[in-house]
Symmetry: C2
Subunit: 352 residues, 2 copies
């Protein structure tokens, strides 16, 4: 495997179950996928985790000491600057300096995004990085971009999200000609806000030029039906969509559990089997649980694992980081950047 030389940088101190589950998940990924792991965090705590897992002298794992921890109470916009020796900040600096191929963190999403932008930096020409979760659709999933990184967007940001999402879906999700849709409140071209209408025209141009496979406007329900592979929207709307899907999924599971409980007397064994399968369904529905979420537009691969990730979920996030590294997404973005810009001199001044 070409993975043999890959080194994944793991922020081992962030997330609800850090460092225990993070270390356990990272170790299992290292063994299973044949990669090296650098655990970043408080050395004593990490040594103790390695001991618990019988991996003190494992050749594929090393520790990089970092004394501080960024938690959910830290202000996302200043956290990586103010806590320069946090596990997250150190991990991102290592990624910037080429001391690993990708970084994975289960920490504060906003802090990780700000840190990635400030430390690792955006790809030249990319205006905003995007948070790109995969939502369930019964198949390979639907990529939502942006899922919440940039609240206020311009049409150019959305054009860039469309290209980046399309490249990611093709190379990481294995979707040969990703169908790209613009999230709107109806399918007609004239629908939506000013942002929607202007962005529609840009995406249509890119589609007509054969650079993306733009299928037009899509609605909230299309996300889960398999009718579209990449859904483009601003980060505000994307966050509402993501949280709504999570909330609806949780509500649904609760109702089904209640339903199963109420009839458990008649069919307790099959009820128990069903309950177990429902847990699997919950995982399928909670996009963040399965693998992690990529930040797109950053110069090197950064993956956000779910804050509540256990060892299994964190292992999946490391696996996703490996797939991301092996794909040529970032290179493809760099090579196509001229098609992703509006070439407005005023906008150039405000770029990186």
């Amino acid at each position: 495997m070409s993975n043999a030389k890959l080194k994944i940088i793991v922020d081992a101190m962030s997330g609800d179950n850090a460092p225990g589950e993070i270390v356990k998940g990272a170790l299992s990924a290292a063994q299973e996928f044949g990669v090296d792991i650098v655990l970043v965090g408080q050395e004593d705590a990490l040594q103790s985790c390695l001991r618990e897992n019988g991996a003190v002298n494992a050749p594929y794992v090393s520790i990089q000491n970092a004394t501080e921890i960024i938690d959910m109470h830290d202000d996302p916009s200043t956290a990586t600057r103010r806590k320069g020796d946090s596990s997250m900040s150190v991990a991102l600096r290592m990624l910037r300096d080429g001391e690993g191929d990708a970084a994975v963190s289960a920490g504060n999403t906003g802090a990780l995004l700000t840190g990635a932008t400030l430390i690792v930096k955006r790809i030249r020409g990319i205006r905003r990085a995007a948070f790109a979760p995969v939502l369930p659709n019964g198949g390979a999933g639907t990529l939502l971009i942006d899922g919440g990184a940039s609240v206020e967007c311009t049409p150019e940001y959305l054009l860039q999200f469309a290209f980046m999402g399309s490249f990611y879906a093709k190379q990481v999700m294995g979707c040969p000609q990703p169908r790209v849709g613009l999230l709107n409140n109806g399918s007609e071209e004239s629908k939506g806000t000013e942002l929607c209408r202007t962005s529609y025209a840009l995406l249509r141009q890119a589609g007509d030029a054969g650079r993306i496979n733009f299928i037009g406007n899509v609605e909230g329900n299309d996300v889960f039906s398999g009718a579209v592979d990449v859904v483009v929207t601003d980060g505000f709307t994307g966050n509402i969509l993501l949280k709504t899907a999570e909330g609806m999924g949780a509500f649904f599971l609760q109702q089904i559990r209640r339903l199963l409980a109420s009839q458990s007397t008649g069919a307790s064994e099959s009820g128990a089997a069903l309950k177990q399968q429902l847990s699997g369904l919950r995982r399928a529905v909670d996009a963040n649980e399965v693998g992690g979420t990529a930040f797109l537009g950053i110069r090197r691969p950064v993956i956000k694992a779910h804050g509540g990730a256990d060892a299994r979920a964190f292992r999946s996030s490391v696996k996703q980081a490996i797939t991301f590294v092996n794909a040529d997404v970032i290179q493809e973005i760099e090579e196509n950047i001229s098609y992703m810009r509006l070439h407005d001199p005023a906008a150039d001044q405000t770029g990186e």
Copy 2:
């Protein structure tokens, strides 16, 4: 019952199952709730429906002839004007002229909203009417306002939605002190778009003055958790939320059906029972199925029934219209209109 004298105007020709299921549902509501019904539509077709239901000479039902039908292909913004003798247009004119207490239609949502605004008109001082569906939360439901009527909104519109939603939740949904939340991408006051931040300040003022019970920002997942009774947002975001919830619900049911099918050999009887119960769950999840959706801000009660409503669902919509009429929502909006306006002279000029 004080309902004895109420007269509900029914657009009998709109909807996927018109006129058969509409007439059947309206008749069953008339008998069950003791109200009079006017069926608006093509006289021959409606007479034939009455014959089928053995209700030709029923004292509680009358027919108002209307020759045209507005369908899903008509342009919503011009439909009621261009088809002046459509069942929808005639029903709305009857409502305006006091020939009934409420109108119920399963027709084109946009056409019904435009027609209600142009024919029945908005309450004096109300800038925009809102579409206010009820979403499932395990209890009395969460009112979403606006669910898609006004795509581009000002803070004043959102302030008005908050008041109208609060009055409706209190009087129609039986929620004594409705918790009103502003939909946002996080709970902090500083979150969201410019529209969110300005609206937050207005809602906070109204809350501090004791006029609404404002609980601050809420997120997409809070809608289904029972943590909030009225969720205020612009119509674009509201539409995305509504469609996402529908899509996620449909996806979930499909997955569960698959799961049940795969284990049906072992527990087929209990599986069959479960399948039946799942249909009930689907109804609970599809907000539009249970009752109808109120248009708030219009001078008289207009209820939108689901386009796919069968007799049972249409009957529920008529029931909801009756509850709406018996509540003092419209009067309460009129009495509080001075607290719902920004008193900006420029805005006054663009008002109704």
